[in-house]
Amino acid sequence: MNSAVFNHGRLLLWGGFLALAFALPLVFKSGFLVSLLCQIGIMVVFALSYNMLLGQTGLLSFGHAVYYGIGAFVTMHMLNIIGKDGGPLTTALLPLVGGLAGMLAGVVLGYVTTKKAGTTFAMISLGIGELVAACALMFPGFFGGEGGVSGNRVVGKGNLLGFTWGPQVEMYGLIVLWAFLATVAMFALTQTPLGRMANAVRDNPERAEFVGYDTQRVRYLMLILSGLFAGIAGSLTALNYEIVTSETLNAHTSGVVLLMTFVGGIGFFYGPIIGAILISVMQIVIGGMTHAWLLYFGLFFLFMVLMAPGGIASVIAIQRNLWLAGLFGRMVPHYLAVALPVLILLAGLVGLIEMSYALLAGEGVGAGDTATKVMKMELHLNTPGPWLAALGVTAAGLVLTRWIGGRTRAAWNSALATLHGDKS
């Protein structure tokens, strides 16, 4: 049995991740890092739920935030109801409510959207997303207008095991627990008949019809289930921030989850996890370092689309295959050789971008900025000196990268040829 959900190796891996997730806040005591970890946990679930559509069923959605947002709003209202009237539910179980809400939204909206696949689906999802987002501002009673709906997650008495979920660390524990459950469930789903047929529908919808499957039904079911997990993620957001606003379900949120999932890699189950972690950290770290972070972000995304459309996970997977084939060793010197010119190129580009921002965007990249320390000292941007230097570095980097990169590529191609030769 090679594909059981819980064979020994996998059990160890899952357990290891769970333990690591619980251990992290013990190592990093900073409140900010715990907050960051909470955000990552939520995004992991959200991105994985998105990949149920994009990676597994081949549905490119531009409106996935709708399910996330609806899960969040319903949770928040539920939280407020519990806070006011009490009730059988406790905070810890609310993600289930949010998930069901997301699922219900999937049942209703998915009926319309999944009639089509491909480009048409992408557009319908965009339209539905815009529709719901616009409605959000129109019905302030439910969506709370531009101020959103807020609540207090410390409600009820005698919460599960005495946790109040007030402190961020307790909330983190709750998020890890739910994220873990959702991840296991989503992974298990890939190992079921529906999960596999979703892959089949993605690869070749026509053929899927001719082996007896209604592709529309497969897409619909996948969307509903994806809505369930997106709803859980939204619910966790609601509990974590104790406020939900209409932007939770707008196009921007849909875009972010798409970016995360794609950058991480849609072809692998763990791809979106990598993406969620990477993008969350990037947003905060790079976002904190430079005003140009959105530009870097956009460039990075385009670079990924053009150079590594399989995402980071596919890059890792290829390295792993090389390693297993014993070919990784012979690539290492090439990687190292190409790293230097790439760094030079990057330094030049970063220099140019940062100087442009300093000059044009007004907000100087003032003294003490870590990002400008690369370039040291004060630069006179109104003189050609720094610009020529940066241009020179960029050009040198470019030439070197092309030169050495050519060799690396040749080595890479030969390694891949050997790899595939071995296999076929």
Binding site: N2, S3, T192, G195, R207, Y213, D214
Partner: protein
Amino acid sequence: MSSPAIRITGLKKNFGASEIIRGVDLDIHRGERHAIIGPNGAGKSTLFHLISARLPVSAGVIELKGENVVGLKPFEINRKGLSRSFQITNIFHNLSVFENLRCAVLWSLGYRYSFWQRLAGLADARLRAEAVMEDIGLAKRRDTPAGILSYAEQRALEIGITIASGADVILLDEPTAGMSRSETDDAVALIRRVTEGKTLVMVEHDMGVVFGLADRISVLVYGQIIATDAPAAIRCNAAVQEAYLGTSLNHD
């Protein structure tokens, strides 16, 4: 066993103004191997597409085992026990050979859209897929993604997917197209083996394959069946010769 496997009456298909299928009547008996031949552009593939509901019918009736199936969706017809292959390889490229076959058997084993059962736990699906894999000679390629198989292997897989569900009416659209001689021989043997006891309808250009496999042959010319008969009779049918060799033969 009264009704034929497939009964086609008055079938027509237009693409805009041009009529591609112009009133086809045809009975396919249960258990026979039936080949449809005809010159290029005669409408053979279109006929297949109509039977399998890939294209909508313009007029006429198609009965599958006595039941009118016009207007049904492809998957509905498939569930009634008709399975088809494609002239242009039509497989799940990113899935492994094994997964391709397993996908093909899931519905017929009643797993439908289940998301509460583990695939790995479905022994019958695994056994059936493995059996087909063995049949089509791809056991050693079990975990290879279908997209990187060789052409002949993909054709074999195409047939494998078609027969895996256990459908009793099999439509094969040029199963040996583009194969070398030896590959064709293997394919013929394969088809013969896997369609044992089933109804087979095939479109084929390779006359060696046709005459080696078929119990009966229909000749489709310009959207009409001009003859349906046993191979030997078809061979010396004047109308067929005219259609294939041109009118000059008539003057002999």
